[in-house]
């Protein structure tokens, strides 16, 4: 059997709060395999972002273990975590977080600069990624000139351009209307199918939930339900 992409055991995350501490994740056990199109679903404050951040090596568990692509997140040094993100993880944020002074092309190119691809390789990969999201005609535009939907498509291209093993998307449709939401979700679904990239969402948007093949319901820092579609 194939090794899971993500393997979480007894994960607890506590935050200091006032004099005591606040437990945001109260013992999570989950596994994800290559090619999943899964989502963490739950009301505000249920711990979706906290869990996604730990999987993304942006934060560390308090106790328990989170193995991502064979790396135990809590044990990684800052440098090792950065290397994991650089090579294997893609992020998509609610607020796009594109670099406003750089063009669409440069935004998508940035992850490749960190990976030391040659100029010609970068060009090929960036154009390919922009083709996936249908933005080859906006190469030289800057984010402030783009619509929200276009911005999120650039963000998807940026997350996908290096063909990472795992893409983490936190509320990717929260700022988008229905048409744009469906458009980017279809794009991600296609990429998931064609590139075998594992997608993990955090969302409470019904439109997103409709596309998920696995729905993990979080409630108050615990897994409430873990459903597979069909």
């Amino acid at each position: 059997m194939e090794k899971p992409v993500i393997s979480i055991r007894h994960l607890v995350k506590k935050f200091p709060a006032g004099k005591g501490e606040f437990t945001a994740l109260k013992g999570i056990d989950l596994e994800f395999n290559t090619g999943e199109f899964a989502g963490l679903i739950g009301p505000s404050g249920s711990g979706k972002t906290t869990l996604l951040n730990i999987i993304g090596s942006l934060d560390a568990p308090s106790t328990g273990e989170a193995l991502v692509l064979g790396n135990s997140i809590g044990q990684l040094s800052a440098k090792e975590a950065a290397r994991l993100r650089k090579h294997s993880l893609g992020f998509i944020f609610q607020s796009y977080n594109l670099l406003a002074v750089h063009t669409v092309y440069e935004n998508v190119e940035f992850p490749l600069l960190l990976l030391d691809y040659s100029a010609s390789e970068r060009k090929k990969m960036v154009l390919e990624a922009l083709e996936w999201v249908g933005l080859t005609n906006k190469i030289d535009s800057r984010p402030p000139k783009l619509s929200g939907g276009e911005c999120q498509r650039v963000a998807i291209a940026r997350a996908m351009v290096k063909k990472p093993s795992l893409v983490l998307a936190d509320e990717p449709t929260a700022n988008l209307d229905a048409d744009n939401s469906h458009h980017i979700l279809k794009t991600m679904e296609t990429l998931n199918r064609e590139l075998k990239t594992t997608f993990l969402f955090a969302t409470h948007d019904e439109k997103v939930i409709g596309y998920l093949r696995r729905k993990i319901f979080l409630k108050d820092g615990r897994v409430d339900k873990d459903e597979w579609v069909k």
């Binding site: 942006l58 950065a82 993100r85 650089k86 609610q94 750089h102 940035f110 960190l114």
Partner: protein, 424 residues
């Protein structure tokens, strides 16, 4: 990556414009102030050198001890021989024997009776021998008010103010009443060739300038001189070489018992000039330091604001897998680029303004009236080799230090915290 950063710098005006302006202004002021102070203090030093101190001065030991009394009875003897020795030992230096003397100037009427009388401060220097540069040193052509410069023995130049008080005109005959080297009374007639206005009260009150040979005749000082002053060939006072020269000379003439043995003193070893010379030397350091500190503070805060604004960008870059210290280093590179550009712009403007002040000068003779200190009446900047690179010290130091201080915030924050700020 570098191109990526440069694009960010060039396109994000708020990232580059304010710091560049701050650096440019600070560097401009540093460069200009340095040239201004070097010019003003340097000119003051040269003026004092030209009129009184020389870059180095040789006197007898005894004369040196009572310098302000102009004790010509303690003057140097056999100066021709001494000059020969000096010329062979310090060939590049221009040596000028001078005699300072006090006395009364008596202005007779047609009958030869005294019409008016007043105290003068006399200076005998080499006007008439062909290769002497003394007239040039005292700027005679520029300060001449009436009449003409000395052209033959027996002539004198007197200060314009004094000439008016005493009702003397060019062409008049005046009599110097003084004392000879041996202490007897001296009388000597001069024809007034012209009048001078130096713009310095000390000189304008009663200066009498005569040829060295006339002074020697008048004061019975054949082959003698109160002092021999030397001027370095660079044209500007160089303290280090002047001190070295004095040491060499004095070692050779160290003769403890002989109070008539010659001693050499650099300009900085004469009275309060030493303080002034060291002030001139350290001022540029102080200025740079002041600008490093103030600009550093401004840029630190600008950097803080800038990186607060850029936490989003840093967060994204960290999420893409850029290491924290790499983000920090790129910030330093950006700061260096900004410091460079700002310094180049600031140095260019600083040099421009300094050049204007060097070329055209600023006449402050109005402000100088009544000042007893000998200072130039025109302020001029002086652009030196330092002017071209001095600005890089505050320019680069302040941007880099400011950014480093501001950038520490990135380290202090948890990566996930940068993200919290991203979400909003």
């Amino acid at each position: 990556m570098i191109r990526f950063l440069l694009k960010g710098l060039l396109r994000d005006k708020s990232r580059s414009r304010l710091p560049i302006i701050v650096v440019a202004i600070g560097v401009m002021l540093t460069v200009f102030m340095h040239a201004y102070i070097t010019g003003f203090m340097g000119d003051t030093i040269e003026m004092n050198a030209n009129f009184a101190n020389g870059h180095v001065k040789i006197m007898t030991k005894a004369y040196a001890e009572n310098m302000d009394q102009m004790p010509n009875d303690l003057a140097l003897m056999e100066t021709d021989q001494l000059l020969e020795e000096l010329t062979s030992q310090f060939g590049s230096v221009d040596w000028a024997p001078r005699i300072r003397f006090g006395g009364l100037l008596d202005v007779p009427d047609e009958q030869g009776e005294t019409r008016s009388q007043g105290p003068v401060f006399g200076l005998g220097l080499n006007f008439l021998s062909g290769d002497s540069r003394e007239a040039e040193r005292l700027n005679i052509d520029h300060v001449l008010v009436r009449g003409q410069r000395l052209t033959q023995p027996g002539e004198a130049l007197i200060s314009e103010l004094f000439s008016q008080k005493m009702h003397i005109n060019p062409g008049d005959t005046v009599t110097l009443i003084g004392s000879t080297m041996n202490g007897s009374m001296a009388f000597y007639n001069f024809t007034v060739a012209g009048t001078l206005s130096f713009g310095s009260e000390a000189l304008d009150r009663g200066a009498l300038l005569v040829d060295l040979e006339d002074a020697r005749f008048a004061l019975d000082m054949q082959d003698a001189a109160g002092e021999i002053i030397g001027f370095q060939s660079e044209g500007y006072y160089n303290d280090a070489t002047a001190l070295a020269m004095s040491e060499r000379f004095n070692q050779k003439h160290a003769n403890a018992d002989d109070e008539f043995a010659p001693v050499m003193k650099s300009l900085s070893q004469q009275g309060s000039m030493g303080l002034y010379v060291s002030m001139a030397k350290y001022w540029s350091v102080y200025i740079s330091l002041i600008f490093v500190l103030t600009m550093g503070l401004v840029l630190w805060n600008a950097g803080l604001l800038g990186s607060l604004r850029r936490y989003g960008e840093f967060g994204v870059r960290l999420a893409m897998g850029e290491a924290k210290d790499h983000v920090f280093i790129t910030l330093i590179y950006e700061a260096m680029a900004i410091g460079m550009i700002g310094t180049i712009i600031g140095t260019a403007f600083g040099l421009l303004f300094a050049w204007l002040l060097q070329t055209y000068g600023l006449n402050i003779s109005g402000m100088m009236e009544g000042a007893s200190l000998m200072m130039p009446s025109t302020i001029r900047a002086r652009i030196t080799a330092e002017s071209y690179y001095l600005g890089f010290i505050p320019g680069l130091l302040s941007t880099v230090a400011g950014t480093m201080l501001a950038g520490i915030g990135i380290y202090r924050r948890q990566t996930s915290q940068l993200f919290k700020e991203l979400e909003t």
